[in-house]
Symmetry: C3
Subunit: 351 residues, 3 copies
């Protein structure tokens, strides 16, 4: 294990303990919220590293599947606790916010900063095109139930059934695209570059993964508990909290990695990491949570979004598709993505 | 005439006779519906073959015009009888369903199966791009009257006039694009590959065309008669019947050809056939029927669709445009198209 | 100064004087409207020439900034007088109409006529792609406030604040993209071709610019005064007047230049000129006028458009993006753009 990794684990342990103390002491909710958010980000990082370690023993195919399954573990816990607390709206907003944050803010910053430093960035456009096509499917899949419900079509009273059909179709697409990127035509599938890394012993890896997972579950619970009082204290609307605050907090580390890669002129890998992250939420996390919400016994999650959220998603997908499609990017395009994100966030500022 | 062609003609004669017997005997409407659908599909195939034969004598230019005119003959008859029976909603749904079925289901299956068998499929992207651009025009042309009517703009009371303006513009575009693909820059216009084919004598061709046309007219009448009782017996909603059942039944053979071509790795030709089929409906059949409906004396057809249908069309056009645009396709993209079709169909399942 | 330029200045002086006489004599409003429109077009041409002359002394960077600032001067004056006259709706419609007119009608005519004369036209697609990406941002920026207001979201009562945020973001994008096209990667930024031109003396240039500017201000006032009575006399609705008449009158000369360039097979330059013209309105003129309208004391301009206008803008942007994206165009694509423009205009014909 490298020194950097040890430091992260140490920090995560400290942050988690402090978060627990603040939670049980009933401290200022803003402080609890900030600490739990930091602890979650560090735990997410550890889960990510451990997953990669496990993957390196099992071959690239298994890594892809593991990352799909475990990579969103902390977000999954947060969402489950929030659903059980009856906060389906916040979960919905956070899921959409996670997609918007990745596809517009993080992607935009990566292209903006990468472009400023490295000039026009060129990249293999096939892998992002597949991601973008699947994103368009996923967003379409959200538009249909939303409209069916909004327009009171005959499907509106059966919206739960329609949601389940859509969720299953999205998960089939996730399985198919994961299979394809593992087994498929290697000229098209995104290739991960190798970074030299000290190997962890297998037993240690599994222990770390288990402890970090259990830790993430506890911290998620405290995070959700602190969320509403913290937002009330800060005077932030529920929609803005989910869409912007939770979404950015939940993906902070992952996002920094993408931007860093673009800065280092590894545009191919940066774009794959960032857009795949959106896709995992749209094709994986959202439908899984929707199906889970029917058995968890809290509030039921639905694909029926507020129309403004759906339109924001559609615009984000279209604009990022256009940016990706030509296989090269310039910094004003990145700035345009960030600008669109700011306008969308502004529209949800008032509560 | 080849043996295969003789068999098809034989089957069509038998199916048409059985359909007539069932119709006049007042048999089970589901059986009548299925038989008339099969007879129509076989007659459509014969009209298609005869048109091609006629075309091969008249040169490629005339073939294009003939195919535009005669290729949709059976669908035209079905639609005219349905309009006279007051089923404007079913006709509308079937026209949209025909476009969705081609652009999503058939195109998706072609890319999915073709991609599974042949790996990444590459194709000349100029001809499909022209089709896709024209499809976007056609769909835009449907969006404008629908919105004008939905939003009660000052144009709403004049919607019939607006419809006629739109229909004329679409037909001008059809004429222009047909002219272009015949006379235009041959590096851009879609090229049809030659298949060795036994020639039919001219007199026989014309007789077959005439008999098949008259037959299609009769069978269409019986098909429309059986439609509503059959759907009622099966418990299928009118919208779903038009959008899915009539649309698939009406294009079954044509669709199989497209999928077969992709399977044989003739991606260029497959894509042209499939997407052109959508375009013929949007730029040709729909506006022609709309104009005809004003003189036929049944119910009047309009471009004002249900908002969910318009959005479904817009999504289908956008997603297929993105898939086509880069000149290559992989099987998960095909699967995504099929997935989107399934979600749209599901949204119309409840009546 | 060339002979052609002297003739234009002479014509402008005559037209402005006649317009003033008609205005103060209270002549037939249609005659006044037509004369002021012609005078404005000629003055716009002179301002354009003078700006270019000034730019040629200051280097290409300054030219870009000057053209952004002064190129829309006459339109700016018309809009300001119309806002002070309480015609915010007409100003909005004229701004949107200017974008639609450029992106659909003028761009369509350029591709149609250029394609008819020169066959398939190929062009460097990077610069138009940047323009198209920024247009998508700008249109998205109009969609968000419109929807927020239409759906009565919590942001609706704060729509003026949201408008100001959007306006500032758009102006930042304008500054960034202007900076990029001056300083940026020259392989991507649009290059202006040099035309041999007789130089004007600096003092003369500044005098001409000042006189033309003051003249444009006066004529704009008379134009706005004549607008409503002229439209009433002709029986044309306010929306159609703004969207079509004012938009075409205000950009007539500029538009002819774009079409002329395409006709001469200078597709690269034609596309840059035409699409940039739309972009200047969306990223520059509209937000500047919106911000100005808060201090001018007339009616307040807003980004909240009628839904049909927003959809028309979105369709225009999407379709022109698709046409631009592949770096080549054929005449049916141009015709399709003109067709879409005609359908949109028809939808606003009834008042």
């Amino acid at each position: 294990m490298e020194k950097k990794e040890k430091i992260i684990i140490g920090l995560a342990v400290v942050a988690a303990i402090v978060a627990g103390v603040l939670h049980y002491a009933g401290a200022n909710p803003v402080a609890t919220f900030a600490t739990t958010a930091a602890a979650l980000a560090l735990l997410a990082m550890i889960v990510g590293d451990a997953t990669e370690q496990l993957g390196s023993r099992l071959g690239p195919g298994a890594t892809g599947i593991l990352q799909s399954g475990l990579g969103n573990l902390p977000e999954l816990f947060v969402a489950i606790f929030a659903l059980r607390a009856g906060l389906a709206n916040v979960v919905q907003a956070a899921l959409v916010g996670s997609i918007l944050g990745n596809s517009l803010l993080v992607f935009g910053l990566a292209l903006f900063l990468g472009g400023l430093k490295n000039g026009t960035q060129r990249f293999k456009s096939e892998p992002p095109r597949m991601i973008v096509t699947l994103m368009m499917l996923a967003v379409s899949a959200l538009i249909i139930p939303t409209l069916a419900s909004l327009l009171h079509t005959p499907a509106a009273p059966h919206i739960n059934d329609l949601d389940i059909v859509v969720a299953v179709i999205l998960l089939v697409m996730l399985a198919a695209s994961t299979y394809f990127s593992i087994k498929g035509d290697s000229s098209v599938a995104p290739q991960k570059e190798e970074f030299g890394q000290a190997e962890w012993p297998l037993s240690l890896t599994i222990i770390i993964l288990a402890v970090a997972g259990v830790g993430a579950a506890f911290v998620s619970d405290w995070f959700v508990d602190a969320l509403q009082p913290a937002m009330a204290t800060l005077g932030i609307s529920e929609a803005f909290a989910g869409l912007v605050i939770v979404a950015i907090a939940g993906n902070a580390i992952e996002n920094l990695v993408g931007i860093q890669l673009a800065w280092r002129n590894q545009a191919d890998y940066a774009i794959s990491v960032i857009l795949n992250s959106s896709l995992q939420v749209a094709l994986g996390l959202f439908p899984v949570l929707l199906l889970l919400s029917f058995v968890l016994g809290g509030s039921v999650l639905t694909f029926v979004l507020s129309p403004l959220l759906v339109v924001a998603l559609a615009l984000a997908t279209l604009v990022s598709a256009v940016v990706v499609f030509d296989g090269e990017s310039i910094w004003p395009e990145g700035l345009a993505l960030v600008g669109l994100y700011s306008i969308i966030a502004a529209a949800f500022w008032w509560g």
